[in-house]
């Protein structure tokens, strides 16, 4: 592979991510939005709040994939990827809750409405992944920690999906938009122009999450290699 190809492979998606986030976050504040009596200008939060959930789901699925990969081929690298993506996924989930609280404070009159099945689901989902980190903290041996936490990651995932995507549908009521608490976005609800900005924001935020995670993994790898060198000396 020549230098040019390598440059494109390494930097193109980072540039894309940067541009997408900058465009979506500035255009989101500047662009005209349809006049809705209930939501008014708070509808702009669509560009900041909803992409967080898409990003979180994608990052956590990647974490699951690396956990399965670790179980079939136990290397330190797979463990770094699995735990790294889980960390960023949880950060995105917390950011999603915070942006949602701002929206809720203006649209519903309260930042935290406990009756909403999505809020219950996501708060328990976050506890699920925080427990994953507590488990990692509780095992001293690195290989054992990687293996046991990969097992928990796979075992807990059906619960996570049930909490985020199935329970809100079955609950049949929600303050969130979408038919009967359906967590998916209904494309017909959003204005065509808004939808474009929303998609750009989703792509940008997700890629940004991947970027953050890869940086974190690089730090972990360097520390890991340093430690190994010290042992060898």
């Amino acid at each position: 592979m020549n230098a040019k190809d390598k440059f494109i492979q390494n930097y193109s998606w980072k540039i894309l991510s940067f541009l997408c986030v900058v465009i979506a976050y500035t255009v989101g504040l500047v662009m005209k939005v349809p006049n809705d009596a209930k939501l008014n200008e708070t509808i702009r939060n669509l560009y900041y709040h909803v992409p967080m959930w898409f990003g979180m789901t994608i990052l956590l699925i990647v974490s699951l994939v690396y956990a399965i990969k670790y179980l079939s081929k136990p290397t330190a690298e797979n463990d770094f990827y699995s735990s790294g993506f889980a960390t960023t996924g949880v950060v995105y989930g917390i950011l999603g809750i915070i942006t949602g609280m701002f929206w809720g404070a203006y649209a519903w009159g309260t930042p935290w409405e406990m009756k909403d099945p999505k809020m219950i689901g996501v708060s328990i989902g976050m506890i699920l992944y925080l427990a994953y980190f507590v488990l990692r903290g509780g095992i001293a041996d690195t290989q054992q920690r990687a293996r046991i936490s990969a097992v928990y990651n796979v075992f807990a995932f059906p619960s996570f999906i049930a909490l985020i995507y199935i329970m809100p549908r079955l609950a049949g009521f929600s303050l969130h938009p979408g038919k009967e608490g359906n967590p998916g976005l209904n494309p017909k609800d959003a204005d065509a122009q808004m939808r474009i900005v929303f998609y750009i924001s989703t792509v940008g935020v997700t890629l940004l999450g991947v970027w953050i995670t890869l940086l974190q993994i690089r730090i972990k790898k360097i520390l890991f290699n340093l430690e190994n060198q010290q042992h060898n000396i």
């Binding site: 179980l71 328990i124 989902g125 506890i127 699920l128 427990a131 507590v134 488990l135 509780g138 095992i139 001293a140 054992q144 293996r147 046991i148 990969a150 097992v151 928990y152 796979v154 075992f155 807990a156 059906p158 619960s159 049930a162 909490l163 199935i166 329970m167 079955l170």
Partner: protein
């Protein structure tokens, strides 16, 4: 040796161990009785008649915590040497399946005793009794089978008893919510046709967890 034979032998071993030191089983039954009395003293005595919603929630909370206590001992109290010896004799799938079956049976007994105590102290406002019993059976089996795998995971970490609750309760919550709704339907006397979808989902989720336990347990048990 075939898998079902190994499971049968391991079940027999579990039962013998339990029977020889009956204090654990007796302790669990007393735990349930204490929890029921605390519920009565805390809520039942103050109110003339507690609402079916609260009755339902309290009952299942008692079952949930009894199950954390009952299941946690299945891996945490096992000595390391013993488990290594066991894996040379039987397949890991047989170990986890026998533990799941044993814990499910144990939880069924505990749930039944809890229901008897509970209905003696706080009354039994259930209208569709058969649906409630079915929910209780399925719920106890589902909750205990999830906790069995969690106990296996938690046993590998430090301060396992705390970790058991921390890891297990978020995982079990989707099942718990389904069970709560099913038993509320049964208390309100709704027919089976209303809750058939939830029953199917409870069974499906439980099947997923048991299958995952069987697939994942070999990675925990054996150091490779």
């Amino acid at each position: 040796m075939q898998l079902y034979k190994q499971i049968f032998i391991l079940l027999n071993k579990e039962w013998l161990l339990e029977w020889r030191q009956r204090n654990t089983l007796n302790g669990l039954l007393l735990y349930v009785a204490c929890a029921v009395f605390i519920c009565y003293l805390g809520i039942g005595m103050k109110l003339e008649k507690i609402s079916p919603g609260i009755w339902n929630a309290l009952f299942w909370i008692i079952i949930l915590f009894a199950s954390v206590n009952a299941v946690s001992k299945s891996f945490l109290l096992e000595r390391k040497g013993l488990s290594i010896y066991m894996y040379t004799l039987v397949r890991p799938q047989a170990v986890i399946l026998s533990k799941i079956i044993y814990n499910a049976l144990l939880m069924l007994i505990i749930a039944l005793v809890a229901l008897i105590f509970y209905s003696l102290v706080l009354g039994i406002p259930v209208q569709n009794k058969s649906a409630f019993i079915l929910t209780m059976v399925l719920g106890a089996v589902a909750i205990s089978s999830v906790f069995t795998m969690i106990a296996a995971i938690a046993a590998k970490a430090e301060n396992s008893f705390t970790l058991m609750a921390v890891l297990g309760i978020p995982v079990v919550i989707p099942l718990f919510l389904l069970v709560l709704r099913l038993s509320k339907n049964a208390i309100d006397g709704l027919s089976y046709s209303v809750s058939v979808q939830d029953f199917a989902m409870l069974i499906a989720l439980n099947a997923i967890y048991v299958a995952l336990s069987v697939i994942l347990f070999p990675f925990i048990g054996v150091n490779h």
